[in-house]
Amino acid sequence: MMHSMKKYQLVQLLHLKMKYLFYKSYKGMSIVELITGMSVVGVIVSSMAAIIATSVTTLKTVDIRKDLVMNGYYASSKFVREFREIDQQVDVLVADSTTVRFIVADTLTVEYKLINSSLTRLIVGNLNSSIMTAHVDVSKSYFNYWDNTQTILTGVFLPSAVWRARLTLTMSDYDTDVVFAADVFPEDFK
């Protein structure tokens, strides 16, 4: 008799446990279960949201950085290509930290200038400059020059002493900074 009772209770207990695993509940949830469930879901969702937000921010930063790099590379490459076409040192007309003006292949006088958060290019004689790239931090961007002994030119110097130039371009957008340094040497100077 006792043995059969125990067996019956055991089956009932097992049935109760299995019910939670495999059967639908008809009772609904108690307030404690509800609060506990909501807390757990809240913790999981907030941590997932934080990770997703970080990923989105990183993606945005990467995208901004990519744009800055592409634009900076284009602008500095354009400057390098034109400066390389100078035929002789006397064709460098103006050379200071924000402006460089030179004659390209004896035909065109071009001026590059760091001004108003931009690197601009003016064909001398034209009214308007074109903007090679925006988002330039002008306070951290500059032109440097070296003479033919590879000595950096500082202070007051003749533009015709310029042998090699470097454009350092610091670009900034939404707290993302990119720095470009582009050296250029006109081969015809040799």
């Binding site: 939670y20 695993l21 495999f22 059967y23 639908k24 509940s25 008809y26 609904g28 949830m29 997932m48 990770i51 990923s55 990183t58 993606l59 990467v62 995208d63 950085r65 990519k66 790099v69 592409m70 590379y73 500095s76 490459s77 390098v80 070296w146 002994t149 590879q150 042998w163 090699r164 470097r166 350092t168 990119v178 720095v179 470009f180 340094a181 582009a182 050296d183 250029v184 040497f185 081969e187 040799k190």
Partner: protein, 159 residues
């Protein structure tokens, strides 16, 4: 018409809830991996462009030097800086030979090395011939952790 009691009477079993959480977790991790892959791809692309700009700059600096220590043939052999020369007094391209290391403050994540040697176009424009020629090959190797391998830019110059 569906009875209201039917709608609210059935909850989810523990197994259904557990499976649901596992599926969500797997999907979430998969999404994160995808986002990470996009980030890495973009970073590599950006690093390639910056590396190319860095390498081009170095090439221009090297090319702005004289072909050789001597103004005319015969050219020097072996290559390298002459005794007493330091980087501030390097005056010809081969002073930067044999793995001279370049760093720019503008490109803190990058480093570069240059190799310069004589080539004979009749033999090979790629390999050093070890003897004095009217051609020098300049190679700039650019290094960055984003690349699996270095990137290289090369040019051949004449007097």
């Amino acid at each position: 018409m569906i009875k209201k009691s039917h709608l609210i009477s059935e909850g989810m079993t523990l197994i259904e809830v557990t499976l649901g959480i596992i599926f969500l977790g797997v999907a979430f991790v998969g999404t994160l991996y995808s986002v990470r892959a996009i980030e890495e791809e973009s970073n590599v692309m950006v690093a390639l462009i910056e590396g190319t700009a860095f390498g081009n700059s170095i090439m221009e600096v090297v090319r702005s030097h004289a072909y050789d220590e001597n103004a005319a043939s015969p050219w020097t052999n072996p290559l390298g800086p002459e005794s007493g020369e330091s980087v501030s007094t390097y005056d010809d391209v081969d002073d930067y030979y044999a793995g001279y290391t370049w760093t720019y403050t503008e490109y803190p994540a990058f480093s570069a090395k240059t190799r310069i040697f004589y080539v004979d176009p009749d033999v090979s424009i790629f390999d050093s011939v070890g003897t004095v020629q009217n051609y020098k090959r300049i190679i700039v190797h650019i290094y960055n952790d984003a690349f699996d391998e270095k990137i290289s830019i090369s040019a051949i110059i004449t007097p």
